[in-house]
Subunit: 553 residues, 2 copies
Amino acid sequence: MPTDIEISRAATLLPIADVAAKIGLGADATEPYGRDKAKFDPAVLPPRDPGKLILVTAINPTPAGEGKTTTSVGLADALNRIGRKTVLALREPSLGPCFGTKGGATGGGHAQVAPMVDINLHFTGDFHAITSAHNLLAAMIDNHVYWGNALDIDVRRVTWRRVLDMNDRALRAITQSLGGVANGFPRESGFDITVASEVMAVLCLASDAADLEERLGRIIVAETRDRRPVTARDLKADGAMAVLLAQAIKPNLVQTLEGNPALLHGGPFANIAHGCNSVIATRAALALGDYVVTEAGFGADLGAEKFFDIKCRQAGLTPAAAVIVATVRALKMNGGVAKADLAREDVAAVQRGGVNLARHIENVRQFGVPVLVAINHFGTDSEAEIDAVRAIAAAHDTQALLCRHWADGGAGAVDLAEAVVARIERGGGDFRPLYADDLPLLEKMRTIATRIYRADDVAATPAVVAQLARWEAAGFGHLPVCMAKTQYSFSADPALLGAPVGHVVPIREVRLAAGAGFVVAICGDLMTMPGLPRVPAAEAIRFGADGKIEGLF
Amino acid sequence: MPTDIEISRAATLLPIADVAAKIGLGADATEPYGRDKAKFDPAVLPPRDPGKLILVTAINPTPAGEGKTTTSVGLADALNRIGRKTVLALREPSLGPCFGTKGGATGGGHAQVAPMVDINLHFTGDFHAITSAHNLLAAMIDNHVYWGNALDIDVRRVTWRRVLDMNDRALRAITQSLGGVANGFPRESGFDITVASEVMAVLCLASDAADLEERLGRIIVAETRDRRPVTARDLKADGAMAVLLAQAIKPNLVQTLEGNPALLHGGPFANIAHGCNSVIATRAALALGDYVVTEAGFGADLGAEKFFDIKCRQAGLTPAAAVIVATVRALKMNGGVAKADLAREDVAAVQRGGVNLARHIENVRQFGVPVLVAINHFGTDSEAEIDAVRAIAAAHDTQALLCRHWADGGAGAVDLAEAVVARIERGGGDFRPLYADDLPLLEKMRTIATRIYRADDVAATPAVVAQLARWEAAGFGHLPVCMAKTQYSFSADPALLGAPVGHVVPIREVRLAAGAGFVVAICGDLMTMPGLPRVPAAEAIRFGADGKIEGLF
């Protein structure tokens, strides 16, 4: 069985100009980055009727793997295969984790975007630019304090940390500005991974360059001694940050292994942020294609909810359909089977774990979005198990389509593509966010917890309640909320698989992302700087004797 | 008078493919980065007789400015103008300082390389890749200790810091790995600016990708409890670091405002490192052009000496000529005139300060390299002052050529170009490094101090002497030395202008750069992480109403 990278290398890519031409982008409109990547300025796109937006989401992730990106690629290839001009809009992968445990984030098997190595390593430099913009703001905070602190920043209340696109646990908590007078005023601080930066979320939610600069200016970095917020604009950092992001804000065009256009742009965390590719790329894809396939991070409880309530709300997008990716293996894990036993047929376990899928189907429907299920096929799946998944879908008034895109590329997802098109053409969708803008912040959290997570309630500390009241008084009450909860369970307890009930969602801490435009509710342990494992992938990554990169995937 | 950025914007750039074609690089050989930048793989270059290598260096820098990069660009344009196929090989600018006080590093007036904004901001991502490779190694050190420390690394003796391409004094000295068991073992550390990274020096001295990986593996990052060196190879980081640098190692092709080819590649500090663009780019330029103009950092005491003794020695390069850039203003400052009084004619001060120029002329001759002087013209220069410079050069058996490339582009440096060609064609050069490989390390430092700086001696602490002896015993005695001394004076005291004698050069600390292949001798305060000024340039950098970037230059 060839590996992902072997399949990727064996593929013949189209010149990127030919991919651009497929969606009407001429040579004047694109800037090449190497031979297989290009950026373009969406401002040059002609206005046209927007395409249909299809969200690919998933059941709660398990170690068995669901294949959401792979299914997104397969579906886009299949839609193109059945004559629907389709553009893929996905997140860019983060560099740091490539050296830890995970491989790349470009799909798998015969459903991949390419060039795989470039996309995973540096790509067109967007994340490096975000790192620079973020850290310039950090340097300007300490520099402001150093030279007299005219804004009266309380150095104990600087919330803006620094970022690196690297898995480096040693930087999670530091003391900085040590070493004497020339180095400033010592204080505690730390680093997050770049995808956790609010600059990343800002870039992904901005509608254009002007909105980007405006949002950057609104970022709150600290409080003064008398507890007034200090913004990037107060520090006069917003202009330079926007300049640093001048190229990063333009979407990146690459292709699937079948030569179909894919926009990879932005990649915020799906816990502390909203976990979707950029609004700019999604809108560009809608202007360029008749169908757009996009995905959201983690399972539908986190990813789809944030896609609908944050991204679609802010950007005025109307999704036409959602596809929930499930695998027989992951449903069996939700049904209590250990990872080592997944190869053994167990229809009853699929049925037990199916409650997880069923709840996600019901949840997506709450947003008024038509929903289908994609069964991402594995070789160990039995026909009876697959039928069990189909039965779950049918019991919830929808269809589950078996997909073999991993093995067969777009041809393996034609059934899904046809079902999606038929469902969209049948109509009846009526998209609406889950809650209104004017609901109080805590009520927004409670609404998500009770209606999506099916919790009995939320439990917020008095400090959280007081903080939310202060932000509401300061005019931030209209913002949507961004839940930072474990991705493994509907509840805040990662061990509760399936469809737990009777739980309470703790709101341990809240953070205001005034630039991105949401309030983060932290419902458990939040890791914003990963570490490397005992044997990091980096140890095996190198150039082989043939000059090709080994060990990366 | 138009500003540099206005001149740059008004210029019509050639398509980068046309620039490549001028030096025989076809579309197959280059990878475009946007419309005005390209990378190419030097491995594809056909073997040919190498061109003539011309080093542009300078008198000791003063706040009055010398214009070394500007003169390099002007000379290259002038050589092309007189029919000599010439390729420019320069350093890439660092991103961080653009937000502090200095403008870009792409020349000035009508002698610039373009596209100016791109080159100064992110360019083709080389420095970001170096940052990633450097910090991956740092993360792998702490990760190794975290998971059991099989190599027995002494965390008190980890010398490998982290880097960012940002002026951020708050990161100079930190304590890291705070916060408990999950974050590792607390220790002191800090960040340098990316150009100070040994990875930068390694990239600039590597002859090809294989040599790069080999050198990365040799980097020493720490000592064990029993004082054995720990290398990047011991940590199995070298392969992944090389992979991260796969694109960064390829030279970048851009153009001068007159459409002539310029390779900008690498940019190590000129104090803690050797301050020259990459060996790979210089060799590529020599394969592509009949003449190559390159420059070295700071004045000739530091820059030219390191260019000859480190870069040319390691790479087997033979410079054909050197041009020392001087200005009337800077010579007057060396002659004791205050900066505020530079506009007033003062021939005597030029003559007094001329001792600085004279010594640099003599010094370059010690390397067997023919030398000329370029007078970079300023509007305030009087004819008598210019004649005084000419007289200094004549008294030292060479010529000083007046250059007006800043105002007139290549046409303003034709006299210099013709003199350089004539001097090279006359022959008589006999390049040799200043000292032999087998001289003891301290003797190498003494040789540079007494013959180039004209000091009476060096003064090394017993700790330094002992350390050098240990390195010699460990097999590093053959390495050249890299002096980290103030650029403002021949001595270690920045206030001693002109041509000081009777001084002693302190060797306060030595560092081994085993990957780059030199021993650093620190002769004074060494700043490897700049800070931002009271009013950082960043505050004025932004997009103007016309969508163009303001405040950057």
